[in-house]
Symmetry: C2
Subunit: 341 residues, 2 copies
């Protein structure tokens, strides 16, 4: 297959998560360019060394490696079909859409946001209102143990759907909709060819809130209970009860926002079910915020907690636990970022 | 004045706080024995070296120094008038009254509890129902910088009153009451002679809750915001708001328990007033729980948070912030005590 027939992917954020998706998409037949930061030199020279339980071991050599998005677009003599954003979303530090600042992103390029949190799309929608935006949640256990060295477990799932800005209900342009659906399905074919568990969702916001139940609770509580992993938290009855109560707050906000239950079974059963699944895992989980805390990196509290709290305030829903956790996380982060300076 | 005419004080907990009270009581004419733990050898050999802004520098040599209460009582050929308990209250680790286990405490000895938290008296009342119990709150800025070396600032205030067990309302025995009042006043004369700011309160529980407004909020929040001191916390608008909201929860429980306002001005003004006073201080304050956190020592969360939460539950008062903070403190402590092992 020549380059011209290949689906062209530009991957922004070539870390533990991005590299696995890039690898699978390339294996599935796509042309994959990667933008790297800290691991640029290593990846440019020899690609990624990946050790994966699911896929076996491999060496992922991206078709092209760049330092920035503007370099990538300037040096590629074709239009990218998809830009995959696999970075953390830190709007409290800088506008996430600034990642694409200075890049002449074609209006025909689809922007795929593989990020945690709620309302992460608005930053891109404001700058690229004409581009198709795909909102995605990933379930994947992967870490970069050394520059360009990736250790991956068994799971790679991507759930995604079209981003529909708020207030756009009913204003469906049938032609645009059909084109967008075709782009969703084209991405799915690429992912499936790369053997990624892939699911297109009509209501991706429901899925985002579903994932937030976990992220908005175990993530910060893990930091605030002295850096406790999933087992240390959930085997402590006081912390477990706190997690359950915090989850209930997130569920109540999410259900009010998406205007339907977050699951197809009773909502009051969600916390115990999630906790049960977590405790069944062989190894304790170290949530991403805890890793950020340990490495003194900024945490994604704006999109994981604050954006949810802002919805709660707008809708008049009381979320005292989430607000307490949010304030403590801000204080904790301010303290360790100051120390790290 | 011979030993026989002196008021005899046995001080349990010869640390930063206890040593200052012991010193002042001796200066005021009392016979003062001190029970020391970690600093026993130093204090036994040469007493305390004290550097005080208020009192100047001095060497406090206790009249007697012991390793335990039973040793003190066995080796003293007189009955102590007062036993001052100046240790932390950690009923989740062991019964605080165990400090006096094996000591033949005379029924005529008054037990004075200089400790933080709520419901700290019940542990002693259960074991010593016939002794007069004095409940006290101390305001003092003092630390032990090295074994037996004490640095003290400007303030030493002791507020105290008779402990009246719950459900004892109305059952006043006039003879016992007069005797107890006389013992309160005798202690006051000793403290005033030693130039300590001393105040007998009819309703000491109101004062305890008043102090708890501060202790139940800034203390744990300081730990949970990454070890932030008073300025770091209160100059952060998110943390400050959390502190205010948490204080309101403590105030609402305290007022329901003591059945009256905690201050003589509107309760809604208390948080800003306390915070204002704190921010006016020249130096940032490092709350005691934060010091325990830094030195990986157990924290007084049982009497400072849990006992207050138990009152809230009994009275049907919602305290989601205090409950969140309590669970996180338990998780944090479990984690660092495990690491310290």
């Amino acid at each position: 297959m020549g380059v011209n027939e290949q689906t062209k992917i530009l991957l922004l954020g070539g870390g533990a998560l991005g590299s696995i998706f890039g690898w699978r998409l390339q294996e599935g037949g796509c042309f994959v360019s990667v933008i790297c930061r800290s691991n640029y030199e290593v990846v440019k020279a020899s690609g990624y060394q990946i050790e994966s339980v699911k896929y076996g071991n491999g060496n992922f050599v991206p078709d092209m490696v760049f330092k920035s998005c503007s370099e990538a677009i300037a040096k590629s003599d074709f239009v990218y079909d998809y830009i995959l954003i696999c970075t953390k979303s830190l709007p409290n530090i800088s506008n996430p859409a600034d990642l694409l600042k200075g890049c002449s992103v074609s209006e025909s390029t689809v922007i795929v946001l593989i990020q945690n949190g709620i309302d992460i799309e608005k930053y891109f929608f404001e700058v690229f209102p004409k581009n198709v935006l795909i909102s995605a949640t990933a379930y994947i256990d992967t870490k970069q143990t050394d520059s360009g060295v990736i250790v991956h477990g068994e799971r790679v799932s991507l759930y995604y759907g079209l981003y529909r800005p708020e207030g756009a209900d009913g204003e469906v342009d049938a032609g645009k909709e059909a084109k967008s659906q075709a782009l969703l399905e084209k991405l799915e074919r690429c992912l499936v060819s790369g053997n990624v568990d892939s699911k297109i969702l009509e209501n991706i916001q429901r899925e985002r809130w579903n994932k937030l139940i976990w992220n908005s609770t175990l993530n910060p509580i893990s930091v605030l209970s002295g850096g406790s992993n999933s087992k240390e938290m959930l085997e402590n009855p006081n912390i477990r009860q706190l997690v359950v109560n915090a989850m209930k707050e997130t569920i109540s906000v999410g259900e009010a926002v998406v205007k339907m239950p977050l699951e197809d079974f009773p909502s009051e059963d969600i916390p115990d079910l999630l906790i049960g699944q977590m405790l069944k895992r062989k190894n304790a989980v170290y949530p991403s915020m805890m890793m950020d805390y340990m490495f003194k990196r900024p945490m994604e509290h704006e999109v994981i907690l604050h954006n949810a709290i802002k919805y709660a305030d707008r809708l008049g829903i009381d979320v005292p636990i989430l607000k307490t956790i949010y304030a403590l996380i801000l204080g904790t982060e301010a303290k360790y970022l100051k120390r790290a300076k």
